[in-house]
């Protein structure tokens, strides 16, 4: 198991902040992908949204693992 130790409160708050930011950025990217005029930007935004979703999942994984261990 990679994350056997519990997170420090600092790590947890950084992870939670990062999760919020990644989610916000993902939402913005998908909105922009629909709104933008040029097609090349559309793919850029949707690719970026996908990358942000992966980031968010990664962060959730770390937070979730330690959450389930704590409970």
């Amino acid at each position: 198991m990679p994350y056997q130790n519990n997170l420090t409160s600092k790590e947890r708050s950084y992870l939670e902040d990062a999760l919020q930011m990644e989610n916000l950025c993902m939402t913005k990217c998908s909105v922009y992908a629909n709104q933008c005029q040029m097609p090349e930007f559309k793919s850029l935004f949707s690719d970026h949204a996908k990358a942000k979703r992966q980031h968010a999942n990664e962060i959730k994984r770390i937070l979730g693992q330690t959450n389930s261990q704590m409970s």
């Binding site: 950084y14 990062a18 930007f41």
Partner: protein, 141 residues
Amino acid sequence: MAYRSSNTPTSRNRLSDRDMLLDILATTKSMSSLYDHAILESNDSMVRETFENLQQDEHHSAEMIYNIMQEQGMYNIGSRQSLGQRYRKSQNSDSRYNMQNIDRYSHTSSRSQLSRKLSGGATNTTASRSRELSSQTNWNM
């Protein structure tokens, strides 16, 4: 007059493509600084490694967005010629700094620098000259 963004036309209640790219770039920047702090303050090595990977992704995406904006001419940091001018200007100021460093060893020129600072620029030379003289006499007394 309808609101207009500085470089690209923006219709009402709509962001231009440039605004959207700028927003994502700014978001990337702030997330990168968040990750920077997170890396420095992580206790667990695996957590730090995760943050480092995320940070690397942020750097890559910032570079990608910047390059695209640059290609589209949406991000003006000046033409190549003005870059050259900037470089020349910085060289000039470098040589001026060297001069100032040399001048620091002589009393009068550092006095005149001080008086120039006091008089708020070198435009009024006579005032600074007289001030320089008076400060020198004060110094001597």
